[in-house]
C-alpha cells in the first residue's frame, strides 16, 4: 500500500498526552524543602556554633556520595542533582546532637542512604523514612554518642539559655517534672535549651513548616493530626495526673515533635497519599510518640512512631474515598 504521508516534511515530534505539564518538578520540591529547613539549620548554628554547620556539611556530602555510589553500583542513572541526597543529609544532621563524632555522622548517613533507600531501588521505592532508619540504627549502636548533649551558647544577643543540662524530655525522665517548673516556655520555643541541631528551635522549624504549607509542598493533614492528637492525649493525662505528666504544650515544644510533624512524618514516599490515610497516619504518630515518651524505653518517641507508622502506610493507602462511578458490588 502506498503511504499517504508526504515524506518531504520532517516527522513531527510525538509524545503522549497531556502536552502541558505543571512547572513543579521533583528537584523543585526537594530544593524547596531544603529552603524550608534553612531556618532550623540557622537556629542550630546560632545556638550551637559552627560545629552544627560542619556536621550538616559532613552529612550532606556523605549522603550525596553514597547515593552516587549506590546508583553506580546498581546501574541506575545518576540522579544526585535532584537534591534528595542533600535533603537526606541535612535532615540527618538536624536530628543529631551537635556533639556526635564525625564518624558517627558519616556512618549514620551512609546507613540511611544505603539501607534506608538505595537498597530498595532509590527514591520512591523505600517503605521507611531513610533518615529515621539511619538515625535508629545509629541510636541503638552508639547510644552514648547519640545522647550526648551540650548547652546552647548563642553566638550573639541572647544569654545562654535555660539551666537544664540535657534536653527537656530527658530532664522530665531523670529529674522529674519539678525540674522544669522554672524553665521559660519562650526558651523552649526559640530553642535556648540543649537538644539536637534542628529540633531545638520550634520557632525556626515552624517557619519552615509554614513555608511548606504555603507552597503547598505538604498538606495540613499529617502535621495537624500529629500535633493535635499528641496534644490531646497529653492533655487527658495531664488533667488526670498533673504530678506525673507535664503540661501537654511542653511536650509539643520539646524534642522532635514539630520537626517530626512537619518534615519527617510528611516525608513523601513513605507516608499515605489519601486524605483519610494521612490523618490516621498523623494520629498514629502522635499517639505512639506520646506512649513512648510516657512509658517507653526511649526518651523521645517521634522517630520510632514515624517508622512504625511507615510500616502501616500500604495499609492506610487502602483507606480512601469512594472512586468515581463505583456501583455497589452485588455479592
Amino acid at each position: 500500500m502506498d503511504r499517504a504521508i508526504s515524506l518531504g516534511k520532517p516527522m513531527l515530534r510525538v509524545s503522549v498526552a497531556p502536552h502541558i505539564l505543571q512547572k513543579i518538578t521533583t528537584s523543585n520540591l526537594m530544593y524547596n524543602t531544603l529552603i524550608a529547613l534553612v531556618p532550623a539549620l540557622l537556629a542550630g548554628i546560632y545556638f550551637f556554633g559552627f560545629a552544627a554547620l560542619k556536621l550538616a556539611l559532613i552529612c550532606m556530602v556523605t549522603a550525596v556520595a553514597c547515593e552516587a555510589g549506590m546508583q553506580g553500583l546498581t546501574g541506575r542513572k545518576l540522579a544526585i542533582k535532584n537534591g534528595s541526597g542533600l535533603l537526606l543529609g541535612l535532615l540527618f544532621a538536624l536530628i543529631c546532637s551537635p556533639e556526635i563524632p564525625w564518624w558517627t555522622a558519616v556512618a549514620g548517613t551512609a546507613i540511611a542512604v544505603i539501607l534506608g533507600r538505595e537498597i530498595y531501588g532509590g527514591l520512591g521505592n523505600n517503605p521507611f523514612n531513610p533518615v529515621l532508619v539511619g538515625w535508629a540504627v545509629a541510636r541503638i549502636s552508639w547510644s552514648d554518642h547519640m545522647t550526648t548533649w551540650i548547652m546552647p551558647e548563642p553566638l550573639f544577643g541572647l544569654e545562654p539559655g535555660g539551666y537544664i543540662e540535657y534536653p527537656p524530655l530527658e530532664v522530665i525522665r531523670v529529674d522529674g517534672l519539678e525540674a522544669l517548673v522554672d524553665l521559660p516556655w519562650l526558651d523552649l520555643f526559640i530553642g535556648n535549651v540543649p537538644g539536637t541541631i534542628g529540633t531545638v528551635s520550634v520557632a525556626a522549624v515552624l517557619i519552615g513548616g509554614i513555608y511548606l504549607l504555603a507552597r503547598r509542598i505538604i498538606t495540613w493533614h499529617v502535621p495537624v493530626s500529629f500535633l493535635a492528637s499528641a496534644w490531646l492525649f497529653g492533655l487527658i493525662f495531664w488533667l488526670i495526673d498533673p504530678e506525673t505528666y507535664a503540661n501537654p504544650t511542653i511536650y509539643i515544644l520539646s524534642g522532635w515533635m514539630v520537626l517530626g510533624a512537619f518534615f519527617l512524618a510528611t516525608d513523601k514516599g513513605t507516608v499515605p497519599v489519601t486524605g483519610p490515610g494521612m490523618i490516621i497516619f498523623g494520629i498514629g504518630c502522635g499517639l505512639i510518640t506520646m506512649i513512648i515518651r510516657y512509658w517507653g524505653g526511649f526518651v523521645d518517641g517521634v522517630a520510632f512512631a514515624i517508622l512504625l507508622m511507615n510500616a502501616t502506610t500500604p495499609l492506610l493507602d487502602r483507606v480512601r474515598p469512594r472512586v468515581y462511578g463505583r456501583v455497589k458490588e452485588v455479592a
Binding site: Y120, P127, F304, L307, L308, T312
Partner: protein, 192 residues
C-alpha cells in the same frame, strides 16, 4: 487485669514473637508475599497456637511433672502439636468447611512452625499459670499476625519497586523484616 494487659502488650509489641523472639520465621517469610495468604496463615496460627498452648500446658503439669518425665518435654510437645494439627484439620474439614477452605492449606505448614512449639515451651519456662498461658499464647499469635500483615502489605509493593536484582526476592524481604523489627524496637521498655 492490668497484668494481663501488660502481658498482651508485651507479647504483641515489645517482644513480638517473630520480630524480637525470632520464632516462626519460615512461614513468616514464606507466605507473606500476598495479603490474603498472610491473613489466612495468621488466623491459622492464632487458632493453633492458642489450642496448643493450652493442651501442652496440661500435658506438662498433668503428665510430665507427676511422672518425673520433664526431660521428654520436647518429644511430648511436638507429638501433641502434630496430632492436634491433624485433628483440627479433620475437624474443620468435616464441620466447618468454609473455615477449612480458608485455613486448610496453612495447617500442615504449622506443624513445623517453631512459633507454635516455641510458645508452648515459653509458657512452661516462664512458669505461667493456665490463664496466663491462654492469654500469652493468643496474644503471641496476634503478634505474629500483626507482623505478617504489615510485612505482606509492604511486600505487595515490591513487584512495582525498582529493587536491584541482587536484592530482589528473599534478601529484600529479610531486610524489610529487619527494618520492621527496628521500628518495633521503639516499644522497648513499655513493659519490663
Amino acid at each position: 487485669m492490668s497484668e494481663y494487659l501488660l502481658l498482651i502488650v508485651s507479647a504483641i509489641l515489645v517482644s513480638n514473637i517473630v520480630l524480637a523472639r525470632y520464632l516462626g520465621n519460615c512461614p513468616f517469610l514464606g507466605v507473606s508475599q500476598k495479603m490474603d495468604t498472610a491473613v489466612g496463615m495468621g488466623m491459622a496460627v492464632i487458632f493453633v497456637v492458642t489450642l496448643a498452648g493450652m493442651i501442652t500446658w496440661v500435658v506438662q503439669y498433668a503428665i510430665l511433672n507427676p511422672l518425673g518425665l520433664e526431660y521428654l518435654r520436647t518429644i511430648a510437645f511436638i507429638l501433641v502439636i502434630a496430632s492436634l494439627v491433624q485433628l483440627v484439620e479433620m475437624f474443620l474439614q468435616k464441620s466447618i468447611p468454609a473455615l477449612y477452605k480458608a485455613l486448610g492449606i496453612f495447617l500442615p505448614l504449622i506443624t513445623t512452625n517453631c512459633a507454635v512449639l516455641g510458645i508452648a515451651i515459653i509458657n512452661i519456662q516462664e512458669e505461667y499459670d493456665f490463664m496466663h498461658t491462654v492469654v500469652f499464647s493468643f496474644a503471641s499469635g496476634v503478634g505474629f499476625t500483626l507482623a505478617m500483615v504489615l510485612l505482606a502489605s509492604l511486600r505487595e509493593r515490591f513487584p512495582t519497586a525498582r529493587i536491584p536484582t541482587t536484592f530482589a526476592g528473599m534478601p529484600i524481604a529479610m531486610i524489610t523484616v529487619g527494618l520492621l523489627a527496628l521500628a518495633f524496637l521503639g516499644f522497648t521498655g513499655l513493659v519490663d
